[in-house]
C-alpha cells in the first residue's frame, strides 16, 4: 500500500513460470508470501488470511468473528502439474484424446483427496471460516472483475437486513498461471508492452494496450455504525452506498452507450443518498484496456457532466495491475485510505494522455487533498458492473 500511495509500480517480469514465446511476460504476481504448495488455492488462501489478520487487528477484534463471511475468490481449476502427475501414474494412451479416461483409471487405483480439495471452489472459504470463526455458511462468489465490490455489497446487505451486526468481506486472487495468462492473451486483453514492466499499465493514455494481470487480496471488516460506535471501535470509513446493473450487450464488451455502467454509478449514488456533486474523488476501474477506459469515461461523463474534469479520477491499476477477483475490494481499501490520509493516489505512466478522455487523473504523482466522499467502480466480463460509495467517518 505504501508504495502504491506514493506512485511506485509493483509490476515485474514473470518468474513463476517460463514466458518464452508468450506475447505478455509481465505481471503483478505476489511471490513474497510463503505457501505450502504452489497452487492458486494455497496462494489465494494465504493472501486472504494475511489481509484478514491485518483487518481484524485494525478492528480490534479477536476470537471468533461471529458474523458471516463473503469471499470473492477466483474460479479454480486443477494445476497443470497435477495433470502431469496424474498422467505419469496413469496407464498408457490407447487413442488420442483419452487422457481423462486414464486419469480416472489412475484415481480408481489410488484416490487423491488433496487433488479433490484443491479443485473445490468452497475450499478457501472453508479454511477462512475455520480460522476466523465466522458464522453460518460462507458465500464464495464470482462476478469476474467486479467480485471484490460484490463481496462488500453482500456484506452491506446482510447488515442492513438485520441478520448480523458485522460481516467479514474478503477478496483474493492468486491465480496467475501460464494458462490464465494465455487465456486473457487470446482475448487480446493484456498489455504486450513488456519492457519496462512498470510502464505497461497506463490507464487513460493514448497508447494503453491492455491490462496487466496481477494478484492481491483485501479484507474489510464491516459493522453497523451503531454496533461499531457501541463498542468504541475506530471507524475507518462509511460504506454508504452500493449499486449494480447487469449488461446484456456482449460476453466481454460493454453496451456502447454505457447504459448499464451509468445505471450502476447512479444506483450507488442513490443508495448512498448523495447526488453527483457530493463525490470528491473517483477510484476508477481504469484497467488500461482501450475499451474499458473509453467506456468508463463515457459513463462518468454521463453521470457527472461538466463537473467531471474537476473531479480527480485515478486508477491504482497503473501501479499494481489488475488483481481481477480482488480488485474491487483492493480499490475500496485504496478509497478509504485516500480519505484517511488526505492523499490522492496517482495514475502513473500518464505520459501520453488520450485526447478523447478529458480527466484529472492525478497524473504521475500523488496529491495532498482532503476528500470526504469517494466513488469506486468495478466492471467485469459477463456484463458485471458494481459501484461503491464510501464516505469519511462523520466527525
Amino acid at each position: 500500500m505504501g508504495g502504491a500511495q506514493r506512485g511506485v509500480s509493483g509490476i515485474h517480469k514473470i518468474t513463476r513460470f517460463p514466458t518464452e514465446g508468450l506475447s505478455t511476460r509481465i505481471s503483478g504476481t505476489v511471490d513474497f508470501i510463503e505457501i505450502p504448495a504452489e497452487n492458486a488455492v494455497e496462494r489465494s488462501y494465504a493472501m486472504a488470511r494475511e489481509t484478514t489478520l491485518e483487518a481484524l487487528a485494525q478492528a480490534g477484534l479477536s476470537g471468533d468473528f461471529n458474523g458471516p463471511l463473503f469471499l470473492a475468490a477466483p474460479p479454480i481449476e486443477p494445476e497443470w502439474n497435477a495433470r502431469f502427475e496424474l498422467a505419469d501414474r496413469a496407464p498408457a494412451s490407447e487413442r488420442p484424446g483419452d487422457a481423462y479416461n486414464r486419469f480416472l483409471a489412475a484415481m480408481r487405483q489410488k484416490a487423491d483427496p488433496v487433488f479433490h480439495e484443491a479443485v473445490l471452489f468452497g475450499s478457501i472459504s472453508e479454511r477462512l471460516a475455520d480460522r476466523f470463526g465466522t458464522r453460518g455458511l460462507p458465500v464464495t462468489l464470482s462476478t469476474a472483475c467486479a467480485s471484490g465490490a460484490t463481496a462488500i455489497q453482500l456484506g452491506v446487505e446482510a447488515i442492513r437486513q438485520g441478520r448480523t451486526d458485522r460481516a467479514l468481506t474478503v477478496a483474493t486472487d492468486g491465480s496467475v498461471s501460464a494458462e490464465a495468462l494465455i487465456r486473457f492473451s487470446l482475448l487480446s486483453a493484456l498489455s504486450t508492452q513488456n519492457d519496462p514492466p512498470e510502464k505497461a499499465s497506463k490507464p487513460f493514455t493514448k497508447d494503453r494496450d491492455g491490462f496487466v494481470i496481477a494478484e492481491g487480496a483485501a479484507t474489510l471488516v464491516l459493522e453497523s455504525l451503531e454496533a461499531a460506535i457501541a463498542r468504541g471501535a475506530r471507524i475507518y470509513g462509511i460504506l454508504k452506498g452500493c449499486g449494480e446493473k447487469a449488461d446484456l450487450f456482449h460476453r466481454t464488451r460493454s453496451s456502447p452507450d454505457g447504459g448499464p455502467a451509468i445505471a450502476t454509478i447512479r444506483a450507488a449514488l442513490a443508495d448512498a443518498g448523495i447526488d453527483e456533486t457530493g463525490i470528491g474523488y473517483i477510484n476508477a476501474h481504469g484497467t488500461s484496456t482501450p475499451e474499458n477506459d473509453k467506456m468508463e469515461y463515457l459513463s462518468m461523463s454521463a453521470v457527472f457532466g461538466e463537473r467531471l474534469p474537476s473531479i480527480p479520477v485515478s486508477s491504482n491499476k497503473s501501479m499494481i495491475g489488475h488483481t481481477l477477483t480482488a480488485a474491487g475490494a483492493v480499490e475500496a481499501v485504496f478509497s478509504i485510505q485516500t480519505m484517511l490520509t488526505g492523499t490522492l493516489p496517482p495514475t502513473i505512466n500518464y505520459q501520453n494522455p488520450d485526447p478523447a478522455i478529458v480527466l484529472d487523473v492525478v497524473p504521475n504523482a500523488k496529491r495532498s487533498q482532503q476528500v470526504t466522499a469517494v466513488l469506486s467502480n468495478s466492471f467485469g466480463f459477463g456484463g458485471q458492473n458494481a459501484s461503491l460509495v464510501m464516505t469519511a467517518e462523520p466527525a
Binding site: A111, H116, L120
Partner: protein
C-alpha cells in the same frame, strides 16, 4: 402462518432432469401413482453411471444459434432452465420485469477441452520441459472463446444476454453450498425489501470426464449398474451417481407477485445453511437447528425432499436424522431419481418441492425404502448435505 407483503413466494419453476424438460413431465411424475423409473446411462462413461440429459431442443429457450455456439452444455443447460422458469412465471419477454430482475446463479466451472488437455499431457510424457510445452500448446491450441464457456460467472452473463435479465447478476460458487447460499441470499433480500423479484438457480452437467474426475479423486462414484440411493452397497464404489440437471426458480415478494396476478406455487417459510466439523454428532446438531422451522408442520402432508449425495456415511446419517427428528414425514431422495447435481442439487430439490405443493401432489416413493404419502403435499422440507461440506434446509408451505 400469517401473510405479509414481503413473504417470499415461488412463482416460476424451470427444471430439466433426465426425467424430462420443464414442469410438465415433473408434475406428472410427482402426481403419478406408480414410482418413477430412473433413467441411467451406464455405457458411455463406464464404469460410471450417470443420469443423462433428456432430449432437448435448445432453440426453444436459446433462439440464436450464435448464442448456443458460445456455450458448452453446462451453460446451455443453465440458460435453458432459466428461460423455462421465466416462461413458467409468465415473465419471459417482459422487458421491464426482466430488466429490473435480480439474479443469483450457483455455478461451478465450465467444460475443459479434453482433446487439448490430452494432447498436452501426452506430449508432456515425452518431454522434460513441460512448462515450455504448455506455453507452446496453449498458445496455439486453446480456442479463445472456450475461456468464456469455462468462466463461472458467464452462465449468469449468458442469461443476461439471452433472457435480458439485468437487474443484477451474482454468481455463487462452492459446490452444494453455492446452491443453498444462492436461495438463502435471494430469500433474505426479498424478505428485507432489498429485492422484489429474483431469478435463482443453477445447472450441472454430469456428462463430462473432467467432472467425473473431481468425484473419483475421492472414489465417490457408485460403479456399474444403478441401485436405489438408500441401499447402495459399500463394496460398489462411493455411492454417488451424478446427474445432468438444471433448476431455476422465480422468487417474488408476495406484494410483487399479487400485484401482477402471478400464480403462486408455494411460500418459502425458512431457508438456512451452515457448515463446520461433522465429527461427534455436530452435523446432526446443525441439522436439528436448521430443521427447527419445520416443527409445526403437519407430518403426513409434509414431504421431505432429501438431496442426499449417496455417499454412504452421509446418507446413513441423514436417514437416521430424518427417521428420528422428522419422523412420520415421507422422504423422497431425489438424487436417487435424477442424480446428484452439486451446485444445482439444492435448487432441484426446491423445484420438486414447489411443484409438489403447487399441485397438491401425493408424491410416490422414489426408492423402495420410502413410505407412501397418505395426504397431498401442503408443505415440504428440502435438505442438502454437501458431499464435502456445507448443509442447508428449506421449509416451504402452501398458500
Amino acid at each position: 402462518m400469517s401473510k405479509s407483503a414481503n413473504d417470499v413466494v415461488i412463482t416460476g419453476v424451470g427444471i430439466v432432469t433426465s426425467q424430462g424438460v420443464g414442469a410438465e413431465p415433473h408434475v406428472a411424475l410427482l402426481n403419478a401413482v406408480e414410482p418413477p423409473k430412473a433413467r441411467v446411462e451406464t455405457e458411455r462413461f463406464a464404469p460410471y453411471p450417470v443420469h443423462p440429459l433428456p432430449e432437448i431442443d435448445w432453440s426453444q429457450q436459446i433462439a440464436k444459434r450464435g448464442d448456443q455456439r458460445q456455450m458448452e452444455n453446462w451453460q446451455r443447460l443453465g440458460v435453458f432452465a432459466a428461460g423455462l422458469a421465466l416462461d413458467d412465471a409468465g415473465l419471459k419477454d417482459n422487458l421491464e420485469a426482466c430488466g429490473s430482475m435480480d439474479m443469483i446463479v450457483a455455478a461451478g466451472g465450465g467444460e475443459r477441452d479434453i482433446n487439448v488437455d490430452s494432447l498436452i499431457v501426452d506430449e508432456g510424457l515425452k518431454r522434460n520441459d513441460r512448462e515450455q510445452l504448455l506455453n507452446e500448446k496453449l498458445t496455439t491450441e486453446l480456442r479463445p472463446t472456450l475461456f468464456l464457456a469455462q468462466l463461472s460467472n458467464l452462465l449468469a452473463g449468458n442469461i443476461s444476454i439471452v433472457h435480458k435479465v439485468t437487474g443484477s447478476s451474482r454468481t455463487f460458487m462452492g459446490e452444494e453450498a453455492a446452491g443453498i447460499s444462492a436461495i438463502e441470499t435471494a430469500f433474505a433480500r426479498i424478505k428485507a425489501g432489498q429485492s422484489t423479484h429474483t431469478l435463482v438457480g443453477g445447472a450441472f452437467s454430469a456428462e463430462r470426464l473432467d467432472i467425473l474426475l473431481l468425484i473419483e479423486a475421492i472414489q465417490g462414484h457408485a460403479l456399474g449398474e444403478w441401485h436405489p440411493i438408500w441401499s447402495r452397497k459399500r463394496g460398489n464404489g462411493g455411492g454417488m451417481i451424478l446427474g445432468s440437471v438444471g433448476a431455476f426458480l422465480v422468487l417474488e415478494s408476495r406484494q410483487y407477485a399479487e400485484a401482477r396476478g402471478a400464480r403462486i406455487y408455494a411460500t418459502i417459510d425458512a431457508i438456512e445453511g451452515d457448515r463446520g466439523s461433522r465429527e461427534d454428532g455436530r452435523l446432526e446438531a446443525r441439522l436439528r437447528d436448521l430443521a427447527r422451522p419445520a416443527a409445526e408442520l403437519e407430518p403426513q402432508s409434509t414431504v421431505v425432499f432429501s438431496g442426499t449425495s449417496g455417499f454412504h456415511d452421509l446418507a446413513q446419517r441423514e436417514k437416521a436424522f430424518l427417521d428420528t427428528e422428522l419422523s412420520g414425514r415421507p422422504v423422497r431422495a431425489y438424487g436417487g431419481l435424477v442424480g446428484h447435481g452439486i451446485e444445482a442439487q439444492f435448487p432441484v430439490g426446491m423445484a420438486f418441492a414447489a411443484l409438489s405443493i403447487g399441485h397438491a401432489a401425493k408424491v410416490p416413493p422414489f426408492d423402495p425404502a420410502e413410505a407412501p404419502m397418505t395426504a397431498p403435499a401442503r408443505a415440504a422440507i428440502v435438505t442438502t448435505i454437501g458431499h464435502a461440506r456445507g448443509e442447508g434446509i428449506a421449509v416451504l408451505s402452501a398458500e
